[in-house]
Amino acid sequence: MILSIAKNRLWNLRRDRAAMVLSFAVPLVFFTVFAAIFARGSGRAATNPVKLVVVDEDRSESSSRFVAALQAETALKVTTAAPAQKGGAGGPYTAATAEAAVRAGDFPVAIVVPRGFGERPIRFGASGDRSKIVLLTDPSDPVAPQVVAGLLQKVAMTAMPDAMAQAGIDEVEKWSGGLTTDQKTRLQESVAGIRRQTSGNRPGSEAGLVDVVTRDVVGEKKKNPLIAFYAAGIGVMFLLFSAAGAGGALIEEAETGTLDRILSTRVTMTRLLAGKLAYLAGLAASQLLVMFLWGALVFGLEMRGHWAGFLIMTAATALAASTFGLLLAALSRSRMQLVALSNLLVLVMSALGGSMFPRFLMPEFMQKVGLITLNAWAIDGFQKVFWREEPVRNLAPQVLVLCGIALAFFLLARRVARRWEPI
């Protein structure tokens, strides 16, 4: 009897193509997407170097060697000059333009090698008033600053052993009561030898320390810095789920004959879809509002000063998500198909678009792929508003893309919905 029941269920499954897809294809697609994101090692592996801006204010022989050694690090992707199209003229980054680039989210970290660094790049013990390397970071990426900070120390040790030796000699002289002229001459010759040996950026021997001061240039005053990211990421994902679910009303109307009845009245298909869109967009906007207000209430998300950007992004995101739901409903032949299709698409879009895992921690190729999803554009826009506190006009790319997606989806849904029109 038990086997008969199992057999009956198996027959049902084989008859239900949507359930089949849900059972087998969806997990495979997921596995593939996540494997692509996290391929070859965990998270930010050596395959995904940290993008770093280096500003050399010192321009000394030591600082040049230091920068060259940083550039030689495979874990870093060092940029020293701004591209011509970005920020106008281009040319080498300055401390100010580097900070702006981090603030804009173009780079997770920038370092500024200060004037006077070359005179005493390394010193043992307390640093005193010595020039310090400034690390400008965007803490929304918690990994990159730590990688860079560690590599700075490594590079100092391996690229500038002569500076380290000099620092050691200085310490010996200080604590031994002074060296003789002869001793000093021989030690200086050794240091010069070390310098000659390491001029080709070859790793040196022992370790020393560079002084680094880290400064968050974004969200430094925020209580809970990543909450806006999670509110946007999770919010958009569930918006897509609920829009697809609510769009399913269209299928129910078609299945129960109500759609036929509606279309025999004065309501045309375009009006019907526009009415459904109005409802779905209103619902989606309310959902985002509730999500962010909850974030403000429970997690201290700062809404004050961000309302304009929030409302603009909410409107654009709600429109795009609603038309997505409408399009899926128009494409699906049954509720089951809609559930299968929406689960598949929403989960894949959310994984690629950064709703589940921040895009900046993905390999660069996957970051670019993510831009095909509306999640990525919505999350980027909300990040600009709440994290980078950019002016509203900077939301133009995100708003335009989301509205473009909304228009395209609506027109497509209208076209697909022709199957319900008189035949």
Binding site: S264, T265, R266, V267
Partner: protein, 314 residues
């Protein structure tokens, strides 16, 4: 606003044709309706009833032919306003209340404000749902939902109403209630095209009946006209034997023009008294006892069978 079209017939159909792939759903249907009448549309499954009704409500575009509703095409705005449709399915929103369903379809038909409020109140009253106006539609009985289904199709006071099997799955008491509603619509001057599978319903309610088969109207007229034109005045004489009719008797009965099926013998006759006497004598001579004898005037059911070769429910 809507132009008065009183002079035109509620529905005129001329040589309407529609094929789906290789299947001819309508093969030259022609039909006329008179103002204020109930025209019954009968036909076996797959005969073309649904395609015809869907053509009238603008959900099917015919390949050729002409269809006019009070003189206008089915897709014209004026036709939408004067035409109502009650589909066979309970095409309502189950989670909404009767009031909300009526509001929805009233709005979709262009009613608003006080007109809409009045129409809702009138429809609730008419369908006997005033007390249940705020309940969930899914919580209503089958009969109540059927009535609400009709009310939603008539909220805009159409002058031509298409009723598709409005009493399917309804208990006798609710059915009577629906008949009363239909009678009130007719009394109000509404012309009704009534599709049904219940022959007795068609005989009772309809002024005229059109029989459709293989995509064509094969007969149309009043019940009596249909009977006269197909079966004439012959009555059906049925005799039930106590045991299966033996072959020798069967041969004699068939020579008299009767059809024999097991214990049942049917003979159509213009002269019932003489035929009854002759049949009973034949049974007596054949040593077979008669259990029951009935004489019926020709029925619509027989007309239908005669014309289509099929029962209505096939």
């Amino acid at each position: 606003m809507i132009r008065p079209v009183t002079a035109a017939s509620p529905l005129e159909v001329r040589e309407l044709r529609k094929s789906f792939g290789g299947l001819k759903a309508l093969d030259g249907v022609s039909l006329d309706m008179f103002t204020g009448e109930i025209l019954g549309l009968l036909g076996p499954n797959g005969a073309g009833k649904t395609t015809l009704v869907r053509s009238v409500v603008g959900r099917v575009v015919p390949d050729s032919g002409e269809l006019r509703i009070f003189g206008r095409g089915p897709l014209e705005k004026e036709s939408t306003a004067v035409r109502g449709w009650v589909p066979q399915e309970i095409a309502l929103y189950p989670l909404l209340s009767p009031w909300q369903n009526l509001w929805t379809f009233g709005r979709y038909q262009g009613l608003e404000g006080a007109d809409l409020e009045r129409a809702i109140a009138r429809s609730l009253e008419w369908s006997g749902l005033t007390d249940r106006a705020s309940d969930k539609t899914s919580a209503l009985s089958g009969g109540m939902r059927r009535r609400l289904n009709i009310a939603c199709g008539t909220i805009h006071s159409p002058r031509l109403l298409l009723l598709d099997e409005p009493t399917v799955g309804v208990d006798p008491q609710s059915r009577e209630r629906i008949y009363t509603m239909i009678g009130e619509l007719k009394a109000g001057g509404v012309s009704l095209l009534y599709t049904t599978h219940y022959m007795e319903e068609a005989e009772r309610l309809c002024d005229r009946i059109a029989i459709i088969d293989h995509g064509r109207i094969i007969a149309a007229g009043t019940r009596d006209e249909l009977v006269l034109s197909t079966l004439g005045t012959r009555q059906a004489l049925t005799i039930e034997a106590e045991a299966p009719v033996p072959p020798s008797l069967r041969e004699r009965l068939e020579r008299m023009g009767a059809s024999v099926n097991g214990t049942s013998v049917v003979l159509r006759t213009e002269d019932a008294p003489r035929q009854i006497r002759e049949l009973l004598e034949t049974f007596h001579a054949g040593n077979t006892r008669v259990r029951d004898l009935t004489l019926k005037p020709p029925s619509l059911q027989e007309v239908f069978l005669d014309l289509t070769g099929r029962e209505l429910r096939e």
